[in-house]
Symmetry: none
Subunit: 133 residues, 2 copies
DNA sequence: AAAACTATGTTAGATTATCTTACATATAGT
DNA sequence: ACTATATGTAAGATAATCTAACATAGTTTT
């Protein structure tokens, strides 16, 4: 797990914002969580807090559902992608990972900003850039 | 105006998250708003929603306050920077100017910091002098 | 065709997060 | 010494979110 991965996993967004960003209902988002497609963090008071990764996943879920894939299928797809990610991460990226891990807190905002700008194109291939606005 | 401007001004973050991200209290954040240093958006139900720009500004406020600048001074500094931004934006060399602007954004902070540090040495009157380390 | 399952809607009651307003207070400036 | 600045804190109100339960249109399965 590299530093940037942590950043992309930083819990930042309330469900209301995620609803706007993904155009999903709260019911849908909770249902997808219930079925293990996402695992948003929680505040001390039990409110969900979503990361950029969560939002990416939700947009992907939405996309796949639009294409007729059911949740079971999406779950499988996510599993496969996760395995790929594991392989890619474990392989040879130690050095780059190390560099990435040492990002200063000051740079965090800029990274966040960047992430938002390019939030969209899921790294592995298929492209439907969700518009964040 | 590029799409990125829209993104940076997109209201996304609740005050709780901004507190964590900036290490400011809610009181401070609201006070800075009250004095016009930021203008976060609101939800339909009147909750504040902060953008990345807001967070940047808050971090800058915090930084300047740590260096002994009062809110009036910070307001002036923001005004100056805003004017510069306006000029640069109106000068229709948008593409190249944008790069230059990014550079000068980072640079300007350092210059300001230096300048303020020097000024602080002259009229030192407060018990909490800038830590010269 | 009936039964079961899937994915979502809706409602209700409870709880958290945030809001405004007001008062308190320690430092800093005059 | 007085005033202004910047922040803390408390109270009461309300918005946003939570869980749980029941409803339902489609879709599979039997």
């Amino acid at each position: 797990m590299g530093g940037s991965q942590i950043r992309r996993n930083m819990p930042l967004f309330s469900i209301g914002i995620v609803m706007q960003l993904t155009d999903l209902t709260a019911r849908q988002i909770r249902y997808y969580e219930e079925h293990g497609l996402i695992s948003p963090a929680r505040t001390e008071g039990n409110k969900r807090l979503f990361s950029l990764n969560d939002i990416d996943k939700l947009l992907e879920v939405k996309d796949l559902i639009d294409q007729g894939v059911n949740l079971a299928g999406i779950k499988q797809i996510f599993n496969v992608k996760q395995q790929q990610d594991d392989v890619l991460t474990d392989e040879d990226n130690q050095e780059a990972e190390k560099v990435r891990k040492d990002l200063s807190d000051a740079e965090l905002r800029k990274l966040l900003r960047k992430e938002l700008l390019r939030a969209g194109r899921f790294n592995r291939g298929h492209g439907n850039p969700p518009r964040l606005q």
